[in-house]
Symmetry: C2
Subunit: 241 residues, 2 copies
């Protein structure tokens, strides 16, 4: 089990430094680890989970279903992300989370969350911070689905994933390897697979991307941002619970 004090994620500069006390508390808050295989369901809509998780390694995605099976991917989940917070509000998950790769998750007991709020206001604030951050991402996705064209949407989502991968050291200057299929893109963007494929091809023909053998090359990030109408973000250090 990875001890929080020597958590490899914490060395990344996206995450704000923690004091010794905070670190000690978080280490005590963590009650174990959970390892999920690719394709595994980590949280299930309708169930009530007793746990909170932080992703240590691997990719996943949050989604909901319409009763007739239409699926909407709400967001992707990467290392450093806190998941399962919603269940503390609703008593019941309103979305599911599925692993895209093998994943390693830190497990926290929900009951101890209360202790965190009582004893570590700074960490409590951090959790609110993370919730607000997720909210911001959802706002942006909503803008995509509502107002961007298919081409813009795909450009946007690829950049979104790239930026997020980048921030946790999973991307290099030229690209990264998102463990997703075109089905995932389609379901995240509210499009059909066929049209997703054809739009992807257009981006390819515009020499903006190349996607071969699971690796996605962003050939001209600036031009891609232009297409997506997405300016670069300077991400402020965020907490890692």
């Amino acid at each position: 089990m990875v001890p929080c004090e020597s958590c490899p994620l914490r060395r990344l500069e996206t995450f704000r430094p923690f004091t010794k006390e905070e670190l000690t508390f978080v280490a005590g808050f963590k009650t174990g680890e959970f390892s999920a295989e690719s394709g595994a369901m980590i949280l299930q809509e309708g169930a009530s989970s007793a746990h909170l998780y932080t992703v240590l390694t691997g990719w996943g995605f949050r989604y909901t279903l319409l009763p007739d099976g239409r699926r909407q991917i709400l967001n992707f989940v990467l290392p450093g992300d806190l998941i399962g917070l919603q269940a503390s509000v609703a008593k019941e998950m309103k979305h599911s989370v599925e692993a895209l790769t093998g994943m390693l998750l830190c497990v926290f007991q929900r009951e101890k969350l209360w202790e965190l709020y009582e004893r570590h206001p700074g960490l409590a604030y951090d959790i609110t911070w993370l919730a607000a951050l997720e909210e911001q991402m959802l706002d942006r996705h909503l803008l995509s689905l509502g107002r961007r064209t298919a081409l813009e949407r795909i450009a946007y989502l690829l950049l979104h994933l790239y930026d997020r991968a980048q921030s946790v050291g999973l991307a290099d200057k030229h690209g990264f390897s998102p463990p997703i299929t075109q089905y995932h893109l389609a379901d995240a963007l509210g499009m059909s697979i066929v049209h997703t494929n054809k739009t992807l091809k257009r981006l390819y023909q515009l020499k903006l991307i190349r996607w071969k053998n699971r690796r996605l090359e962003l050939l001209d990030v600036a031009a891609l941002r232009e297409v997506a109408h997405l300016s670069e973000e300077t991400d402020t250090p965020r907490p890692l619970i």
Copy 2:
């Protein structure tokens, strides 16, 4: 100025009862009121606000723009809603808020938020709760924009607004008076006004709604939920900061 202890909203059963201490603190947290006219911009994208607000009366909406002016309404704002929290995360608002009617807002100083976290873990938890609640709404909207058809979307949004209005006593059994135009519906649903209008007409012809003189009648709520694939929610009491 409305004293928190006798806040009319607090008498509604959607809001969880507060202890005397909590109420006293919130009363101290509130530093004033702000009254906005219909159409006024309450928070502006790109600006950094020093304040947090809770809506006392009136309706508004949150939105973002694409650089070329395309607008996406992210959510509507009703009495009891806390707004401006995002700015504490981002140093800069990522969305704007505009008033749909005259609005009365409670004003809180952002600096005192820290004190709240230190002295009242229960209230801190409440703020996280509210953030998670907003997140849930956004998830649902995302599902709408991504996977619902035009007819389903409109049904969904009207019900969403109805349910929310209902919970703060702004609706009766047969309908309510949302202070919005078809433009707002269109921008919230990612549709054009023309198509919104035509789809609305279809709902009218199905005898599911009637919308005249600002008042919206829901003629058959159950059937409307059916169309929207939206089951009724039993809303658990939420905090009112």
